[in-house]
Amino acid sequence: MKIKDLKELLDADVLCCEENLSRHLYSACGCDLMSDVLAYVKDQGALLTGLVNPQVVRTAVMMDLVCIVFVRSKLPTEDIVELAKENGIVVLTTDKRLYEACGILYSNGLGVKESK
């Protein structure tokens, strides 16, 4: 699926890098523990999280993730969004909870390890 499909499915708002919404997603993970995210490489993935700090973006940069979704209506601060912007990472925010957001994406075909 594309990032814009994820946006529609989660009824999410785009906070930056709208120009990258047509990029493909091949996997996703829902996690608040950044070290767990760092443990397994996800190909062109999205990170869904309830954690809001700059380390979320740095983790995404290290993993070459293309999209971050903040759940439960959490709003990142400007410096967090700016860091994502510098790295071309699409930042979204949704009012859905982590479990629900992951479930919606999974049942719509975004697996944990969808291959290219």
Binding site: D32, L38, Q55, V61, M62, D64
Partner: protein, 141 residues
């Protein structure tokens, strides 16, 4: 053997929020040099976990990344408390980090295991009360 290209960074140990800046920088530099995305990812993740560790446990330190023709060496040196039991520290899930660090998404006992996971060789030289030097080697194939 030709001299390696060296990148040196001082890791500020005062501020967890800004930790990871050196790793972002090294990722940019390695991209500019044109290494494979896989190698760049392994180097930057391993260094990022190391950088976070130095900030959490050792109030910062230094990071040197040496680029050889066939490999990259990352040397992370700190003057922190040292590791009293390396075997224990290497276990996934073992951590001595504070609740504050945990609430920020780290300190889950995955740092050293992840560093080992992404490097081809890792050695830890540590003395309690003196400091720790972690050397990671990532082969460029």
């Amino acid at each position: 053997m030709s001299e390696p290209l060296v990148f040196h960074y001082d890791i500020d140990g005062e501020d967890f929020i800004s930790a990871g800046q050196a790793s972002i920088q090294i990722k940019k530099n390695l991209r500019r040099i044109g290494l494979s995305p896989e190698v760049i990812r392994r180097v930057s993740i391993a260094m990022y976990e190391g950088e976070i560790n130095m900030v959490i446990h050792a109030k910062g330190g230094t990071a040197d990344v040496l680029l050889y023709e066939d490999r990259i060496e990352i040397i992370l040196a700190d003057k922190g408390p040292g590791i009293s039991n390396i075997e224990e520290a290497m276990q996934e899930g073992f951590s001595t980090a504070s609740d504050t660090i945990r609430s920020l998404g780290f300190g889950a006992g995955m740092g050293l295991p992840n560093m080992k996971r992404y490097s081809d060789k890792m050695t830890i030289d540590t003395t309690v009360g003196v400091g720790t030097t972690v050397t990671m080697v990532i082969n460029i194939t």
